[in-house]
Symmetry: C2
Subunit: 260 residues, 2 copies
Amino acid sequence: MKKETLHIVKIGGNVINNEEALTSFLKDFSELEGFKILVHGGGNRATEIASEMGLKPKMIQGRRVTDETNLEVVTMVYAGLLNKNITAQLQQNNCNALGLSGADANCMLAHKRIVKDIDYGFAGDIDAVNSEIINVFLQNNITPVFCAITHDKKGQLLNTNADTIASEIAIAMSELFHVQLNYVFELKGVLETIEDENSVIKDINLDKYEQLIEQRIISNGMIPKLHNCFNALKKGVQKVKIGDASLIKSTNKLYTTLTI
Amino acid sequence: MKKETLHIVKIGGNVINNEEALTSFLKDFSELEGFKILVHGGGNRATEIASEMGLKPKMIQGRRVTDETNLEVVTMVYAGLLNKNITAQLQQNNCNALGLSGADANCMLAHKRIVKDIDYGFAGDIDAVNSEIINVFLQNNITPVFCAITHDKKGQLLNTNADTIASEIAIAMSELFHVQLNYVFELKGVLETIEDENSVIKDINLDKYEQLIEQRIISNGMIPKLHNCFNALKKGVQKVKIGDASLIKSTNKLYTTLTI
């Protein structure tokens, strides 16, 4: 049986931090036809709220650590403020959104990251995505909207990387659907020359990816993002696209497509 | 066809504010067999967080008003912090909880309260409960967990009374189920004598209710609560019980049962 297409779109801080950009993106997302899932990162609202509460970000060796108080803040901001406002806006656009954390209906199970060199605190690494229940939602005309909070089924919520959430959901859902994974970020795609915002490399396959790393065209921040993408492609995801907020508009032609 | 039983349980501040009481209640709730829904109020965590953020509660004529900043705080605390922690704890107990606001899957539609004498700000009055989608969740072995946030389908979230949410959900679900509505509060039931915590009036019907108001045995705070209950009973809910956190334990015999 031919699988139906499922679009999974991940948005990050650059869309979430700008009210106008978010509203415009959510309008485009609502118009996307067929099965779809949204995954959103946190943006800087959590840092702002933490600062209003007199909290300072906890850093160890330049890495942000999720201590108990910070976990409270990200749970409030990601799963509460952002997730419910995004859901309400999508509902306004007649997109039947359902806001979810990993704890809800046990959608995503994770474990607290094992301490090696650095103790990241309440950071979660995903063990399992519940594709069965996500499919129940989709088949009932629901659009799941995931925030970056998971749980360990021992009562502990965990702060989890939204890029990884998107790729893990994409991998799990690829058993049931023809999955297209879309990463919306601050650039129009993977750039040939960082100074030229239009120098988008339109197609990257695994060979080209390794070549670009060797040539140092793909730099530090981009490597884990692309690593996530190729991991998803290797595990069954059909296609990955990376670009700015116009990525999901049918009129947009400038973005990077990844394939293996 | 004989309808199956659905238990709807509403908990308020007295359970939520006490970590031990909450954990113990959630254990009992998890053990409740069959279809069930949890509705939770806010407790005092929202006031604490607001105060940590340097915000003062806005009061007009002794009534709390939900302004824009307060709405942000209650959305964070009710839909984020409390709802997800309750959900994660229920998951730990193998109760397949799904945390929901009214915006999620358009479960509860409300409108901003009409300004008459007092402008309550972003307070919502419920117009519709989506019994169809709630039933889809229940039939898929999911236990919905509602926080006291609704939406107007115009993108606006609204702070909504949790007692009313519980009774409106109970009324809507009574078309499909034999509904038992349970209100957990700080007392063992409706009391004959406020000084004697064990002077629980075991059964109240509509006649007795009017009689108790006349005799001033039921006082100010209790009247809207019981009004909600009788409204639910008149509109199809089978039975309403009021009592303390042990209400849902099969061993507990001391509570008030309302019927019409």
